[in-house]
């Protein structure tokens, strides 16, 4: 009995910044969606800045952050992805530590799409010429209107990919009996005692990134006119 208990342990898998960014992004995209549909464009703009900040931070954390946050540690080549995909139907596969090879695709795709949608929004012009994106002064009214429609079309694509992400989480929960939501909240998952843990990085790295991201978002918000 004691031996059995000793074999399992709480393994840390996601650090606080990763979890915070994940859930703030969920809230941010939700606010953007609601305010966009209801034409509350003043709030929509501010929510868009927040989302831009989070995505910039996540990209930065993907370079210098904790082990499970880094792109080099979870973005895999076609062979690894294919190998993983062929075991997807099996129910007894071990828990991946961090993103699995297939999930990595959807992470990269979602981050890329969010960045694309936000970028289109920065140049988008509303029908009234009132609450336009901060960079819309670099495009004409007509171009900006066109970009506003693309902003919407690309958001729809993003929603489909988010839908796929949610479907995958449900699939893991029901079919593979792996709870992926819990670890994204607590940061920990059950694992064998001997498994390698994630490595944290000092918090000052996050602070440096936050300062840079804030500066970029501010510069963008004033259209690079100071």
């Amino acid at each position: 009995m004691e031996a059995a208990l000793a074999d399992t342990a709480d393994l840390r898998v996601w650090d606080l910044p990763v979890r915070a960014m994940h859930w703030l992004l969920v809230i941010g995209i939700g606010v953007c969606w609601w305010s966009g549909i209801n034409n509350e464009l003043e709030y929509h703009t501010y929510a868009g800045y927040a989302v831009l900040w989070i995505v910039l931070m996540r990209l930065y954390w993907g370079l210098v952050g904790s082990s499970t946050a880094r792109f080099v540690n979870f973005v895999r080549g076609p062979k690894a992805i294919l190998d993983y995909a062929t075991t997807l139907h099996r129910r007894d596969t071990p828990h991946s530590h961090g993103h699995n090879a297939l999930g990595a695709i959807s992470i990269v795709l979602m981050l890329g799409l969010v960045l694309a949608v936000v970028t289109l929004g920065l140049f988008a012009v509303d029908v009234d010429g009132l609450y336009s994106g901060p960079l819309s002064l670099y495009v004409s009214f007509k171009q900006g209107r066109h970009l506003a429609h693309l902003h919407y079309d690309w958001f729809n694509i993003l929603l489909w990919v988010i839908g796929l992400h949610l479907a995958a989480v449900i699939f893991y929960f029901i079919y593979k009996r792996q709870n992926l939501i819990g670890p994204m909240i607590s940061g920990k998952r059950q694992g064998a005692a001997g498994e390698t843990e994630m490595t944290h990085v000092p918090l000052w790295r996050f602070v440096i990134g936050a300062v840079i991201a804030t500066a970029i978002v501010y510069a963008v918000s004033v259209g690079f006119y100071f």
């Binding site: 009234d128 009132l130 209107r145 429609h149 919407y152």
Partner: protein, 164 residues
């Protein structure tokens, strides 16, 4: 039937049929409103954007940007309510963002149109006075007058393809 009575009936039939033809042929006239109205409204949106862009840059060019664009908005706004004759909505089969509710709640629509004219006239006055703080406030008020109507009487962007 006397010849006189026959002529009277024939005349009446003719008059009625002319009116009927006029009524039916009223369609193309309403359809013809859609494209120019979109162009003119786009001019107004573009004009407000141009003023807003100068405000955002923090470099306001009164003579080349603000005054001419405020003039465009004011000039166009005078005719605004003429561009929406009954029958120029989606029933034309043409691609239009104009919603049928324009003609169902026409009193309210007219009221918002007149409010737009008032704001546009004020914007023009403020532009001529070259008062920056007043301009910022009035651009916001004018844009909100545009939005007030669009929120209820225009299809949201996401329900239609991009306008051309």
């Amino acid at each position: 039937m006397s010849a006189f009575a026959f002529r009277r009936i024939a005349a009446a039939v003719f008059v009625v049929s002319v009116f009927t033809v006029l009524e039916v042929s009223a369609g193309p006239a309403e359809i013809a409103q859609i494209k120019p109205r979109q162009d003119k409204l786009r001019d107004m949106g573009g004009a407000l954007k141009a003023i807003n862009d100068d405000i955002k840059r923090g470099r306001i060019d009164w003579d080349n940007t603000v005054i001419p664009n405020a003039q465009t908005i004011k000039d166009r706004s005078v005719y605004l309510l003429n561009w929406f004759p009954k029958g120029s909505g989606p029933e034309t089969g043409k691609k239009t963002y104009a919603l049928p509710v324009i003609w169902q709640k026409n009193d309210d629509f007219q009221k918002l149109g007149k409010a737009m004219q008032t704001e546009a006239a004020k914007l023009n006055e403020v532009a001529l006075k070259k008062d920056e703080a007043a301009l910022k406030a009035q651009v916001l008020a004018t844009g909100k007058a545009c939005k007030a109507c669009h929120d209820t009487y225009r299809s949201p962007d996401y329900e239609k393809e991009n306008e051309e």
